[in-house]
Amino acid sequence: MVLESIRFRTRFVIINNIVNVLAISITVAGKVGLEMGLSSGSNASEAVKLCVFDLRRGQNEGQELDKILFFYPADLPFTTQLSVIGLSEGLITFTRIFSPEAACDVIEAEMHSHVFYEAEPDIWMVMVVEKNKESEAIWRIDALRRVLKEIHTLFVMFHGSVRELVDKEPTGGLVRTHLYYFIMDYLSDFFIGKKLHLPNFRDSLKERGTVQMLTVGREVAIDVQSLVRVLESCAGNSKCYSLTMFQDLLVSATLSPDDTVSLFTYAVLRLTPQALSSGVSSWSYLRKGNTACNTSAGAVMANSCPSVDQYYNSGDTSPVGNRSYPVVRPLQNDKWSKGKDGFLVTDIWGAEFGSSIPTSPTIWLKQTEEKMYLCAYQLRSLTVILLIPASSVINGEQGIAMVKQQILENASLKMFKVEEKLSRGWGGENAYHVSGYRYLLVDGDRCVSRASPPGKVTTLTKDSLVALSKLREEVDSERIRANSDGLGHEKDLEICIRAKNNAWLIARLTRGKELYMVLEKANETLLYASDAVMKFSDRYCNGAFSLE
C-alpha cells in the first residue's frame, strides 16, 4: 500500500521524464513527426493550436479524421491535424497505463507545451503553445488549462455536454458545427490583430474561473438579499435562481459555485454595461474589441473545412438537410442590447415562428441539470439575472413576459434603491488596491478571487511577474500532488522567494484559501516581508493567513 502511494505521488515526475524521452524516440521513429508543427513555426498564427477530439470515434484505420471535433487553426492540413491528435492520443494511452484515473496533464517539449484537459470521459481538449523566452510566450500550464476548462463549461452551459451532441448525430456534423462557432466566438476575445494572445505570465495575479465580488456593508447586503428574495418569488412557486452584479463584480448569487462561475463569466463577457457599451471586457486588458474574427470565421470555415462539408454531404438522411444546422451562438459579439423596459434582449436564440419577438435565452445548470430561462435586467450599473426553470413556464414566451411584468412591478423600486446604494459605496476600479502590495487572493472553495487592479499590476517589472508565474507553477504542482494524496486534508503551505530584482514573492495556502503577493519595494529582510503579509492578512482577510 505504501509503495503504491509513493508511485502515484511521483507519477508526474516520471511522466515528465518519460515524455521527454518519448518525444525524442517518436521523432526518431518518424512515425508521427512531432516537429512538423514546429517547422512551420514562422507563421505567427500557428503559435497556438487548440483541438477537441473524441477517443471513441474513428477507431478504425483510415477513419482517424472522425476523431477530430474541432481544430484551430482550421486551415492546417489534415495530416498536421492528425499528427497532433495522434501524438496526444498516444500519450494519453501510454500514461493511462500508469494512472488510469487521471492520464496525461502536460507535455513539456523543448519548443512547445502541450496542455491536456479531459473535459468529459474520452473527450479531450489539447492546447499546444509555442515557448519563446524572448517574446511574451512564457506560460503557466494551469492558467492555460483553465482556458480550456472555461471553454468547456461555457459550452456545456449553453449546449449541454459534448458527448450528448455527438450521440445525437453520429456523423458528427452537429457537434462540429456547434464547437466550431462556439470556440471561434470565444477565441475572438483573445485576438489582437491576427494573433491569439492567451493568458501568459503577465496574468499571474489573476485566476480564471473565479468570481470577483463586491464588498458591501451590512445594510446594503440586507437590501440586496431582500431584492433577491423578491425577484425569485416573481415566477410563482418554481425554484428560481438569481445572480446580481454591480459593474462587473458579483454582489449576490444563489446558484452553486460552479454555475455561478459560468454564468458570471458569461455576464462579464457579454452582459454587463461595459460589455454592452464598448465590447471591451474589463477583466481582460488583452482584448481590444476586435470583432473581425467573426466575419472571417465564416470564410475560414467555408474554405478550410472540407471535412465538415464532407460530413454534411454524407448526412443525406438528416432531416436538417445540407449544412443548415441551426446553431445558437451565445458568444457572438454585439448581439445583446438593452431594451426599452430595461431587460436585455438578443436575437441569438432566434425568434418564434411568425413573430419578431426574440426567443428567450436558455441555459443548462450543471448542478441540477435543469434547463433554465435566462432573464437579465439592467439598471445603470446593476445587472440582475434571473433563471427560471423552463419546466415551470408553460406557455413559453408569454410566461416569460408575465414574469418580466412581475419583476417590473415588484422589484423595480428595490433595484433602483440597491443600485443607488451600491453606486454610492462603490470605490471605483481601484477600490481594492492596497498600496505597496500587488496581490491575488483566491478562495478555492467558493471559486472567488480578488486581486490588485490590472492597472496596478502592470507597474510590476517583467522579472517579478515571470518569477511569480514560476512560483505559482510550483504551487500548482504541489497542490495537484496533495490532491492525488487524497484524504481531503488541506495542507498549509508557505513559500517566500527573493527574486533577481530583489522583490519578495510570497505564496501562502491555508485551508483552501490562497494568497499570492509581490512586494517590489520591500525591505531587505524576510522578517519584513512576513510582517507585511501578516498586516495584509489581518486587515483584509480577517486574519485567515496570520496563523504564525
Partner: protein, 806 residues
C-alpha cells in the same frame, strides 16, 4: 374558525332567501353607480336590507351561531354576534336604588350620581367595574339642577336654581351659597377646574366667573370675570375646554381652556349651518355640538341637521380649523370616543359608524353595524327576573363622555367597547389593520396579541412577500417610535420607579407618544414653522395647519429636545428599555419636566392614568419569539419563504437601527442549511447579515456536517470572535492538530488537554507528527515530561519508528 364560517354561511343563506327583495334593491343601487364606488353610497337601501336581516334573525330562535356567548334574541335587540364592531358587555353597572329621582354625571370625577330625596349616591365609573358599590352623601331637600364634586372630592357643589349654587364641605358640613348678583343674569352651569388660579367656574348668561376656593376662610374668591353673552355652553373635563355659544343662531363660539398652565382663550369662531329654507334661520342647539378628544387632539363636532352632516373642527391654540364632514343617516345621533376611536351612533338607524381620526381621514373604518350586547343570555335573564326590557338605542339612553351609556329608565350604566378582533377581521388590508391596532392603548395587550396573530397568519398563508414586508415594517417602525418616545416600557419598570411618581410618569409619556404619532402621520407643514424647526423631527400636536400658529407649550418643546438628545447620546443601536437604565432615566427626567406642562389643549392626563401604560408595540425579540420561532416548525416545508420573511424583518430592523434576537441568526443558518442553500449562507455570513456570535458559529459548525465550507465558516467565525479555546478544540477534532498547536501557541491557549493533540496525531499514523507534538508539549508545558502520558506516547513513537525501520 371553520365552524364559525359555516354557521355564518347558513345564516346568510337564510337571510338571502327571506330578504331577496331588499337585497336586490341594494344590489341594483350599487350596480347602478358601480364605476364610482364610494363608501355608504347606498346606505338607505343597506339599512333597509339590514332591518330585514335583523328581523330574520329575530324570527328564529337561537340561530345556531357557535362561539361566543350565545346570541339571544330579546325583542328589540339587534343580535348578531358576527356583525358588530362595537359592543357593550353584560352585565351593566346597575344603579338601581329605590327612590332614585334622576341621574347626573360628574365627568370631572367620572362619577355617576344618583339622586334620591335626601341622599346623593355616587358610582365610580373609572376604572369601570360593573359591581362597584356606591358611596353616598346626605343631600338637603330642594331642587337639584346639576351637581358636581370638587376634584379632590371634598366639596360638593349643587346648583339649586338658575340663581343659586350651594357648595357643601363634606368634612366640616359648612355650606356656602353663591348667588347671581343681579336679576338680569342667570347661572347656566358650573364646573370644577384644576387650573392654578381658579377652582370653580360659573357659566352665566352674562359670561364666565372664575372663583378660587379658600379652605381657611371657607369662602369663594372671585379671580376673574369674562364678560360676554352666553346662550348655552358645553364643557368636557377631559379636554378642560368650555365652549360658549352666543348670537341669535347660537353659532358663534368662544372657547376657554382651563389647563394647569392657566386660562387660555381660544379664538372666536363661527359655525356655518345649511339652511333648509331661504328665510329659515336655524338655531344651533347644545345637544348638536360635541367636544371630543382623540389622540390628544381636541375636536368640536357639530351636527348640521339640514345638511345631515357632522362637521368637525379642530382646535389649535390660535386657530380653529374646519376639518371636513361626516355623513349622518339618522335624525338623532350620539358621539362616543373609545380608545381614540370616534363612534358616531346613528340612533334612529340603530347602527354605529366608527372613524379613526388619526390620519385625518374621513372614511369609516368599517361599514355601519349595530351595537352589540355581549354576554347577555336567557339563562341570566331568567335568573334575574327583575331585569327590565333592554332596548339598544332606546329613548332613555344618554351618552356620557367619553365612552359610557346611561340607560336612565333602568338605571344601567354601560361601557362601550371596541371589538378589535372583529374590526381587524373586517379588513383585508393587513398593514393598515396593523397600524390601527398598534395605535390602540386601551386594550394594548389584546391589540399586541392580535398583531402577532395576524402576522403569524400572514406568513402561514404564504402571502406575497411585499405584503408581509409591509406588515413587518409597520410593526418595527411603531416599536422604534415607541422606544424613542419612551412609551414602550414594561409595566414592572414603571412600577419600580417611585410609586408616588407613577402618575406623573405615565401621563406625559403617553402624551409625547401621541405627539410623535401625529408627526408620523406626515403633517409636514407644521415642522416648517420657525419655532419648531429645532425639533422638526417631532412636531407637536399643537402646531397649526395653514394659517400659522405657535406651539402651545414651550416647556413641551424643551422636553422634546431633551428627549431627542437623550436618544442621540445613546447613539448607535437602540436598546430595549428594560435593558438600559439610561433610557428609563431619560423618560423619568422627561416626565418630570413634562409634568406641569402636560395640560395644554391636549387630552388630560387623568383619562390615561387609568389605562395601562403598556403599548401595543412589539419588540423584535417578541416578534422572534411569538412569530418566527412559533411558526418555524409549521413552515418546515417552505424554509426559503421563511428566510425571505426574516430577511425583510432584518431589513426593517436595520433601517430603524434595532438589535434583533441573536437566535434569529441561528434560525437563518438552520433554515438555509436545511434547504442546502449553502452559497447563500456564505453570503449572509460574509456580508455580516448574520451577526457573528458563538451560537451562530456553533450552528454553522453543526450544519457543516453536510458541507465542509459551512463548517469552515463557523471555525473562521470562532477565530474572529477570539474564542480561542473552541477554535483550537475544533481544529484538533478536524485533525488539523499541527495548525491547532501553532494557533494555541500564538494565542496562548493552554486550556486544551495535550492528550487530545496526541491522540489526533497518533490517529494520523505519522510518527514524525506525533513526535513533533510530543516535543512541543515537553518544551512548553513544564512538568509534562514527568507525566505518564509523556512516557506512554514516547513508547508509541518508538514503536512506530521501529516498525517502519523493519
Amino acid at each position: 374558525m371553520k365552524e364559525k364560517n359555516s354557521a355564518t354561511a347558513s345564516v346568510l343563506k337564510r337571510i338571502l332567501v327571506n330578504c331577496s327583495a331588499q337585497a336586490k334593491q341594494y344590489g341594483s343601487c350599487v350596480a347602478a353607480r358601480v364605476p364610482e364606488v364610494e363608501r355608504d353610497m347606498c346606505l338607505k337601501e343597506f339599512l333597509v336590507l339590514k332591518n330585514c336581516m335583523r328581523n330574520v334573525l329575530q324570527g328564529k330562535e337561537h340561530v345556531g351561531m357557535s362561539g361566543k356567548a350565545s346570541a339571544s334574541n330579546h325583542p328589540g335587540f339587534s343580535v348578531s354576534d358576527a356583525l358588530s364592531h362595537v359592543y357593550i358587555q353584560y352585565p351593566p353597572l346597575r344603579c338601581t336604588l329605590t327612590g332614585t329621582k334622576s341621574f347626573l354625571y360628574d365627568d370631572g370625577n367620572k362619577l355617576l350620581l344618583g339622586l334620591t330625596s335626601d341622599r346623593v349616591f355616587s358610582w365610580k365609573t373609572a376604572p369601570y367595574n360593573p359591581h362597584v358599590a356606591p358611596s353616598s352623601d346626605p343631600l338637603c331637600e330642594g331642587p337639584v339642577l346639576s351637581i358636581r364634586y370638587s376634584l379632590d372630592l371634598k366639596l360638593l357643589a349643587i346648583q339649586r336654581s338658575n340663581y343659586e349654587v350651594q357648595i357643601w364641605n363634606k368634612e366640616t358640613g359648612d355650606t356656602i351659597s353663591q348667588k347671581c348678583r343681579s336679576e338680569s343674569e342667570s347661572i347656566l352651569g358650573f364646573f370644577w377646574a384644576d387650573c392654578p388660579t381658579c377652582d370653580i367656574v360659573f357659566v352665566k348668561t352674562s359670561g364666565l366667573d372664575f372663583y378660587s376656593y379658600n379652605p381657611e376662610l371657607k369662602s369663594l374668591h372671585l379671580v376673574e370675570t369674562k364678560k360676554l353673552n352666553v346662550s348655552w355652553y358645553i364643557y368636557t373635563h377631559e379636554s378642560r375646554l368650555v365652549l360658549l355659544a352666543s348670537g341669535m343662531q347660537c353659532k358663534s363660539f368662544t372657547g376657554y381652556q382651563l389647563s394647569l398652565a392657566g386660562i387660555i382663550r381660544l379664538p372666536r369662531f363661527e359655525i356655518t349651518m345649511a339652511k333648509s329654507e331661504a328665510n329659515n334661520k336655524p338655531i344651533l342647539a347644545a345637544e348638536d355640538v360635541h367636544i371630543i378628544t382623540v389622540y390628544g387632539r381636541i375636536y368640536c363636532l357639530q351636527f348640521d341637521r339640514a345638511a345631515m352632516l357632522l362637521h368637525s373642527y379642530r382646535f389649535y391654540r390660535d386657530a380653529v380649523v374646519q376639518q371636513g364632514s361626516l355623513p349622518i343617516y339618522s335624525n338623532r345621533i350620539a358621539v362616543s370616543v373609545v380608545d381614540n376611536i370616534l363612534l358616531v351612533h346613528q340612533v334612529d338607524a340603530k347602527v354605529v359608524i366608527i372613524y379613526d381620526m388619526f390620519a385625518e381621514s374621513r372614511t369609516p373604518i368599517s361599514a355601519p353595524l349595530p351595537l352589540l350586547l355581549r354576554g347577555f343570555s336567557r339563562a341570566s335573564e331568567s335568573k334575574e327576573l327583575s331585569d327590565p326590557e333592554l332596548i339598544i338605542y332606546g329613548d332613555d339612553w344618554s351618552f356620557l363622555v367619553p365612552d359610557l351609556i346611561c340607560d336612565v329608565a333602568n338605571g344601567y350604566l354601560w361601557k362601550i367597547h371596541l371589538d378589535l378582533e372583529a374590526i381587524s377581521a373586517s379588513s383585508s388590508d393587513t398593514p393598515s389593520v396593523l397600524e390601527f391596532l398598534q395605535r390602540r392603548k386601551l386594550e394594548a395587550n389584546k391589540a399586541k396579541q392580535l398583531c402577532l396573530e395576524i402576522t403569524r397568519t400572514l406568513i402561514l398563508e404564504r402571502r406575497s412577500l411585499p405584503v408581509v414586508a409591509r406588515a413587518i415594517d409597520v410593526l418595527i417602525t411603531t416599536y422604534s417610535q415607541a422606544i424613542k418616545t419612551g412609551s414602550y416600557q414594561k409595566r414592572t419598570n414603571t412600577e419600580d420607579a417611585s410609586p408616588s411618581g407613577v402618575s406623573n410618569l405615565k401621563s406625559p409619556n403617553t402624551e409625547v407618544d401621541e405627539s410623535s404619532r401625529v408627526d408620523a402621520s406626515g403633517i409636514k407643514q407644521e415642522s416648517a414653522r420657525g419655532i419648531e424647526s429645532e425639533s422638526s423631527n417631532r412636531s407637536t400636536i399643537s402646531a397649526s395647519v395653514s394659517d400659522g400658529s405657535v406651539s402651545f407649550e414651550t416647556k413641551k418643546m424643551t422636553s422634546h429636545n431633551l428627549d431627542s438628545s437623550s436618544g442621540k447620546t445613546e447613539g448607535g443601536y437602540m436598546v430595549e428599555p428594560e435593558a438600559s437604565g439610561a433610557q428609563v432615566d431619560a423618560s423619568i427626567v422627561q416626565s418630570q419636566i413634562l409634568g406641569p406642562g402636560s395640560n395644554a389643549l391636549n387630552a388630560n392626563a387623568s383619562e390615561q392614568l387609568e389605562s395601562q401604560v403598556s403599548s401595543a408595540a412589539i419588540s423584535p425579540a417578541d416578534l422572534y419569539r411569538f412569530v418566527f420561532a412559533a411558526i418555524e416548525e409549521e413552515m418546515a416545508g417552505d424554509a426559503t419563504y421563511l428566510v425571505s420573511i426574516i430577511v425583510e424583518f432584518l431589513r426593517s430592523a436595520s433601517l430603524e437601527k434595532l438589535k434583533v434576537d441573536p437566535n434569529i441568526y441561528v434560525l437563518i443558518v438552520q433554515l438555509l442549511a436545511r434547504e442546502e442553500r449553502y452559497e447563500e449562507l456564505v453570503l449572509f455570513v460574509l456580508n455580516k447579515i448574520i451577526d457573528p456570535s458563538k451560537e451562530v458559529a456553533m450552528q454553522l459548525i453543526e450544519s457543516g456536517h453536510q458541507n465542509v465550507q459551512t463548517r469552515k465558516l463557523g471555525l473562521d467565525m470562532l477565530r474572529e470572535l477570539s474564542l480561542h479555546h473552541d477554535y483550537v478544540l475544533l481544529l484538533v477534532q478536524d485533525r488539523y492538530y499541527l495548525e491547532a498547536l501553532r494557533y494555541a501557541r500564538k494565542n496562548k491557549v493552554n486550556t486544551v488537554r495535550p492528550s487530545l493533540f496526541l491522540e489526533a496525531a497518533h490517529a494520523s499514523n505519522d510518527s514524525q507528527h506525533l513526535a513533533a507534538v510530543l516535543r512541543f508539549f515537553s518544551d512548553f508545558i513544564p512538568g509534562f515530561k514527568n507525566t505518564s502520558e509523556h512516557n506512554s506516547y514516547c513508547r508509541i513513537v518508538a514503536d512506530m519508528n521501529s516498525s517502519i525501520a523493519t
